[in-house]
């Protein structure tokens, strides 16, 4: 996937990305300060926002194969189960009950299958939103700070789930997070944003542990990225 001369003006904030390449089948980490353009870029890729200028070359990827989860996921006014199977229903796919129950059980949501989804805790809602995003087996998944509110145990489960999926399929992921250990555990490539621009982009080993640009170096030191050891 390539992004060329992408511009988006949101009034108080303007995004301007000259060129960006997202290798298919890899896990990409988006890092940067709050308001640096990570989420806006992700929303443009997901088709939630339309660019003012420039283009995104999807390399044959259809918009229905891209999904995104956010920090405050939207829960439908219905049960946990109905929330989970919504992406299947709109695609006319019959839910595989055994598979669904196994996924819910693994993530501690089986007992809450018939519960009103909005009555779940924020961590449980985030777990449900990730499972819901993955249930229709998308080609491209954007996880925007969704892993932040999870307990250490749930986070480890999801990290393993993402890595397991990655072993058997070639999904492309964008993980947006302020937590260095999540980026380090999961990502192959890291992209650093600042003031609506892409500053540095490349393999994690370089951007994460040996950045070229001083602004990236300073950010890494502030966020204590340097204290994280290479995977």
């Amino acid at each position: 996937m390539k992004i060329i001369n992408l511009k988006k003006n949101l009034g108080m904030f303007a995004l301007d990305i000259k060129y960006m390449e997202l290798e298919r089948g890899c896990i990409h980490g988006f890092i940067g300060e709050n308001g640096s353009g990570k989420t806006t870029t992700a929303k443009l890729i997901a088709g939630i926002l339309k660019p003012d200028e420039g283009e995104i070359l999807y390399d044959g990827l259809c918009s229905r194969e891209i999904t995104m989860t956010s920090q405050k996921p939207y829960m439908l006014h219905t049960s946990v189960y109905e929330n989970l199977v919504y992406p299947l229903k709109i695609r006319g796919i019959k839910p595989n009950e055994t598979e669904i129950e196994a996924a819910l059980e693994k993530h501690g949501l089986l007992e809450k299958k018939k519960q009103y989804a909005r009555s779940l805790s924020s961590g449980e809602q985030q777990k449900l939103s990730i499972l819901r995003a993955l249930i229709f087996k998308p080609e491209f998944v954007i996880v925007d700070e969704t892993l932040s509110n999870l307990s250490a145990e749930s986070l480890s489960l999801f990290e393993n789930l993402i890595l397991e999926i990655q072993k058997i399929s070639s999904i492309t992921w964008i993980i947006i997070s302020h937590q260095p250990h999540i980026i380090n555990e999961l990502c192959d490539n890291v992209h650093f944003f600042s003031n609506g621009q892409l500053i540095e982009s490349g393999k994690k080993e370089y951007v994460f542990f040996n950045p070229e640009k001083p602004i990236v170096k300073a950010y890494m030191q502030r966020q204590a990225f340097g204290t994280v050891k290479a995977r």
Binding site: M68, T78, I90, R91, A133
Partner: protein, 229 residues
């Protein structure tokens, strides 16, 4: 005992039963038409951006405060024999009353649905986009997610319809057995000094209002987040 018998006989009085029937038929049809128009207009207004949108919203809000008796007068002038729609012979019929009621209720439902949609629809639309929903699936989801708010708007419209008197008096003419509603009957009975039947009709209206409010409250209760399915 005599009082009880008198009350029972009042409720089984053909005139009262007929007024209740006319009121319910008129309200049901006018609310059904207004709901279809109001829901579609409310959601379209939220979705579309076009020049003059703010003016339409302002105009719709103005219509909320439009006196029903003036609506009745306008519809009367349109439907009278020499009026532009006189050929349809709708004056002093339930159909004519439904037209007047639809004009009164549609802005109420439109305004309520629009207000709810402004708050809820953007998040639903973003969610639907991330799930890969088509435009049609997104619109269906918006209506589904707002169903309780929409029910509430419909109930409010129905409440307004059964309690309206000015326009139905003018357009319907308060003809016994044909266009006499509960409210026009009460108005007439009062002017004739017949208070017992008037109070009986008032009690029925009050009962309807209570049931409607109860239903509206039930729909609002779904916000309680501990509800289980």
């Amino acid at each position: 005992m005599d009082f009880l018998n008198e009350t029972i006989s009042l409720f089984s009085d053909a005139g009262i039963v007929n007024a209740v029937n006319v009121t319910l038929i008129m309200s049901a049809f006018s609310v059904a038409i207004s709901s279809l128009l109001g829901i579609a207009l409310g959601i379209l207004l939220e979705q579309c951006n076009f020049p003059g949108k703010r003016m339409i919203i302002r105009l719709n809000r103005t219509l909320l405060a439009f006196p029903p008796v003036v609506v009745g007068l306008i519809v009367y002038l349109l439907l009278m024999r020499n009026g532009p729609l006189g050929a349809f012979s709708l004056l002093f019929t339930i159909k004519g009353m439904i037209i007047a009621q639809t004009i009164i209720i549609t802005p109420i439902i439109t305004s309520m649905v629009y207000s709810f949609a402004v708050k809820a629809a953007p998040a639903i639309r973003v969610f639907a986009a991330t799930m890969g929903a088509t435009k049609q699936q997104t619109n269906i989801l918006i209506v589904k997610e707002m169903k309780y708010e929409i029910y509430f708007a419909i109930i409010t419209g129905f409440g307004r319809s059964i309690s309206e008197v000015g326009s139905v008096m003018l357009v319907g003419g308060n003809i016994e057995g044909r266009t006499r509603t509960m409210t026009t009957a009460i108005s007439m009975l009062k002017s004739q000094g017949i208070y017992t039947e008037g109070v009986a009709l008032g009690i029925i209206l009050l009962a309807f209002a209570f049931i409607l409010q109860w239903a509206a409250e039930c729909f609002q209760k779904r916000e309680s987040e501990d509800e289980n399915y």
